[in-house]
């Protein structure tokens, strides 16, 4: 395990997630984790390192390569009163499990009129930055956010990852918990306030413009906000949406009101995506002129192989151009 002083220590996201799993599994005996290569190896990214030694093979289960089964197995465990955490090696390999998530996990409470519940967490790394072949860089968070009954959570810093994962495990709903691989190994100081699952997290206050973002793009947005503050005394509010489903509509509208100039920033393409929901929400309630609203994401095409991944997701330069447009 990482250090016990995790509330204050500077750590990276893999360490924070590992600590969250350790703390939650220590605190609640009904929790258990299942996934591919999570035991001795500690997972391909080492998020589950040493958990097998601490909690044994009844609570740290190496599964065969069987994503659809893993998702359904978790539903069975949860229905029976346990709190499973199911790890998928990459988001793209979780897609075959969508059937179980849509047909069962998201609906169990609803279709039994509250008699049964499905408290489980589906964890997967996602997004660009690992230099692996095809299918290792996708940002399909919106697919999951489209499903009523599934919560979708994305942390943007190690300490948010720590708290949000613990809250996700404690939640009585099925949660899809997506971890930005690009941030896995970046050490960051802990955030001052803990986050609350279901609410936006304001990383930085500001009244000149508001950036709504999540995952690895939060990191880029914060860098840009620092540059604007130090070089131009322009204060950008950076809002980490963090819970993509259901959206924290009140929190989003409040943050949007603070500046009235909006950038919605995400790594995925905007086609059929959560960013549009946020745009529409703000537009409908606040009636902000379209020239003060921008949405920035990837082009609507297949994510290039890793050599040209950088052409895909927004970067600091494109973020700055978008900000400049809404500040005019």
């Amino acid at each position: 395990m990482h250090k016990p002083d995790h509330q204050t220590a500077c750590m990276h996201m893999v360490q924070a997630l590992n600590q969250a799993l350790y703390d939650e599994m220590s605190a609640d005996e009904t929790t258990l984790i299942a996934g591919q290569d999570i035991g001795r190896l500690g997972g391909v990214f080492r998020v589950t390192q040493n958990l097998l030694d601490h909690f044994g093979p009844n609570r740290v289960i190496d599964t065969p390569i069987s994503e659809t089964f893993q998702a359904g197995f978790g539903i069975g465990l949860a229905t029976a009163g346990l709190r499973p955490i199911i790890e998928f090696q990459f988001l793209a390999f979780m897609h075959s499990a969508l059937d179980q998530m849509i047909a069962h996990a998201s609906r169990l409470r609803h279709r039994t009129r509250g008699q049964l519940k499905c408290p489980l967490v589906y964890r997967a790394p996602y997004g660009s930055g690992v230099h692996a072949p095809e299918h290792h860089s996708e940002s399909t968070e919106s697919l999951f956010s489209h499903i009523p009954g599934l919560k979708v959570i994305i942390p943007s810093t190690p300490s948010l990852a720590y708290h949000l994962l613990r809250q996700a495990i404690q939640s009585d709903d099925p949660v899809v918990f997506l971890e930005p691989t690009k941030l896995y190994r970046i050490k960051q100081e802990p955030n001052q306030r803990p986050p609350k699952l279901g609410e936006v997290y304001i990383h930085r206050e500001g009244t000149d413009a508001t950036i709504f973002t999540w995952g690895a793009m939060t990191y880029e947005a914060l860098q840009v906000a620092k540059i604007y503050e130090t070089q131009y005394q322009i204060k950008l509010m950076v809002v980490d949406v963090s819970t993509l489903n259901p959206l924290d509509e009140i929190g989003i509208l409040q943050a949007a009101k603070a500046s009235g100039r909006i950038l919605i920033l995400h790594e995925a393409s905007a086609k059929g995506a959560v960013g549009n929901d946020i745009y529409y929400l703000i537009h409908r309630h606040l009636n902000i002129n379209a020239k003060y609203m921008r949405q920035l994401g990837a082009p609507n095409t297949i994510c290039p192989y890793y050599q040209n991944e950088h052409l895909f997701a927004p970067n600091q330069q494109s973020i700055m151009s978008a900000i400049n447009e809404i500040l005019l």
Binding site: D62, S96, H131
Partner: protein, 308 residues
């Protein structure tokens, strides 16, 4: 063994094995220097993929997973293009050989595609061959494909490269039966090729491919191999295997044993073997230079080929 190979055939096979070996070796080096990304070496399994490709014609379909470098090269994929693919460069896949699917990454999914291809071959001469790892046999799509192929007697050969590991997961945690061939024998006809000398394995593979070609019925063939390198360049096998086990496996390196066999039986001279090795390395070096010197990809391509 049905028949002794001619000297020329032996030289040709050795060259193919050395090229695959040199490709793996060079790719690992290029990964270390940052020129290519995560790479799965086929060390210990080169002969399987070379033999599979050798006993098919180019009219037969080949559906690879990601460890099939030897088969792709043998089927005519330019080596520099294979480097490009592993370097995250789309141009690599534009050079896939005829009747060959691109490398498959989502485990097991290729079996369904291969079954569809085999359906289309029902009234033709060709067959379809698909490869997968032992870990892949846990995926539902694999069972579903075997079942369908058997119901409809399709001309398809499912080849399981049983290297006994799926990343860190040992076969005992992956399969209810230690023999993949037995696990599926109630669904489909199966065959099993144990560890052994390269020439013997080659002849057995040839026989099984011939069987599918003549009976035009499906078969699952399990071939026992050793994974002598970690799963990929990203993996550290020492976390889940003892160094002793790994060393022991390495003493069984099939290509080294083949060299010993050729020498001890006076089939090829040491000088002859050396010159084949040198020529294989030169071929791969040249391809690596080609790969390294190629202009980088245009950046305006990312919307190309998305729709017809």
């Amino acid at each position: 063994m049905q028949k002794m190979q001619t000297k020329q055939e032996l030289q040709q096979l050795l060259l193919q094995l050395y090229i695959t070996q040199a490709f793996d070796h060079r790719a690992k080096m290029l990964q270390k220097t940052g020129h290519i990304g995560t790479f799965p070496s086929s060390k210990g399994q080169e002969h399987l993929f070379v033999s599979l490709a050798n006993h098919l014609t180019i009219n037969d379909w080949y559906c690879p997973y990601y460890r099939d470098h030897g088969a792709l090269i043998t089927r005519g994929m330019p080596i520099h293009a294979l480097f490009q693919y592993w370097a995250g460069d789309e141009r690599g896949n534009s050079a896939i050989p005829p009747h060959t699917l691109p490398i498959n990454i989502p485990i097991g999914s290729q079996c369904a595609h291969a079954t569809g291809i085999a359906w289309s071959l029902k009234h033709q001469d060709a067959i379809c061959l698909v490869t997968l790892g032992d870990g892949a046999t846990s995926k539902g799509e694999v069972y579903e494909s075997l079942n369908f192929a058997q119901i409809h007697k399709l001309p398809i050969l499912f080849v399981v490269n049983n290297n006994q590991f799926a990343i860190s997961t040992a076969l005992s945690q992956q399969s209810s039966n230690p023999l993949i061939a037995n696990k599926f024998s109630n669904i489909i006809s199966t065959a099993h090729i144990p560890h052994g000398p390269i020439l013997e394995i080659d002849q057995k593979i040839k026989a099984e491919i011939t069987k599918v070609k003549t009976t035009r019925s499906p078969l699952l063939l399990e071939v026992m191999t050793l994974r002598l390198d970690p799963h990929t360049t990203n993996d550290d096998a020492l976390i889940y295997r003892s160094s002793k086990d790994i060393e022991l496996d390495n003493t069984q390196y099939p290509i080294s044993q083949f060299e010993q066999f050729l020498l001890s039986q006076n089939l090829l001279s040491a000088q002859n073997i050396q010159s084949i090795k040198t020529s294989a390395r030169a071929t791969v070096d040249q391809a690596a230079q080609h790969f390294l010197n190629a202009p980088s990809q245009e950046t305006n391509h990312i919307n190309d080929y998305l729709y017809a």
